[in-house]
Amino acid sequence: MTSKPVQFDPEAMCKMFSRGGHPGWLDLRYHDHGTNWVALELPWREDLLGEEDRLVLASGPIISLLDMASGMSIWTTAKAFEPVATLDLRVDYQRPAKEGSAVIGRAECYKVTRSAAFVRGIAHDGDPENPVATMAGVFMNIAKDPRKKQING
């Protein structure tokens, strides 16, 4: 091993992911990160509402936000990008987000094994002590599956 370890940069990766696809459509943005966690922001937008007459973001985009923050927390913990697939994701909704408010999704990867990564997180609209939702997820490392030849990430 002569090459220097490449520092995984969640902010740069978020920018790359959010150029297109579902994260790009949701306009997911980098918010903050630590050694084993990443926080992303889902901006408020009228066409993402969960009800016709209330200006509150739907729960679907909040799941997408937490799913994406989860994947990024796994790569930040591993300090490398390896393709993962979501196996199981649970979201408990504590309350609706505030009207017109962006939502922050913060996911923490608390355990990685050879084949799986375990993640927990919260979604909040300003105060992490008063979450909108909590989540728990299990992800599988699909790069290590010898039956599959990964052609993309």
């Binding site: 579902h22 066409d47 799941i63 393709p83 697939a85 649970r90 408990d92 993309n152 990430g153």
Partner: protein
């Protein structure tokens, strides 16, 4: 409310355009549509497109969850309307199982009411592509039901 007296007893052919218009703004902008009815509950469809893509050539897990959740609420709202119940729904939780990669194909989702009580409902949802027996994802949802004041 809708006058139900003149409805035929057999399962009516739904107005899928009107049913789609009742989905959330989020569901409609993602491209989810009501495609028909199965067992009296709405069958939802979505076409693959760039805005639901995660890994290249595959559904984003969040888009799959959004489809499942939308199908769960559509099933519950349809059942409550059939029971002549006016209700405000409050999400409690959703647990999604990802069973296979969602490929760039038309995708379907159907909710089933596992339990419907006075104050809460438990809904199971399944999503599949070309093979009804090979699910790409399933979900269980708990939803609180409040009566309008």
């Amino acid at each position: 409310m809708v006058d139900r007296q003149n409805e035929p007893l057999a399962e009516p052919v739904p107005d899928t355009v009107a049913a789609t218009a009742k989905l959330t703004p989020y569901a409609r902008s993602l491209g989810i549509k009501v495609g028909g009815m199965e067992g009296g509950l709405p069958l939802l469809t979505i076409e693959f497109s760039n805005i639901i893509e995660g890994r290249p050539g595959a559904f984003h897990g969040g888009a799959t969850a959004g489809l499942l959740e939308t199908a769960g609420y559509a099933a519950l709202r349809t059942q409550l309307a059939a029971d002549d119940r006016e209700a405000i729904l409050k999400p409690v939780n959703i647990t999604v199982q990802y069973l296979a990669a969602g490929l760039p194909k038309p995708t379907y989702a159907l909710g089933r009411i596992t339990r419907l009580g006075r104050r809460s409902a438990n809904v199971t949802v399944e999503a599949w592509q070309d093979d009804r027996e090979r699910l790409i994802a399933s979900a269980v949802m708990n939803i609180m039901i409040a009566e309008p004041e």
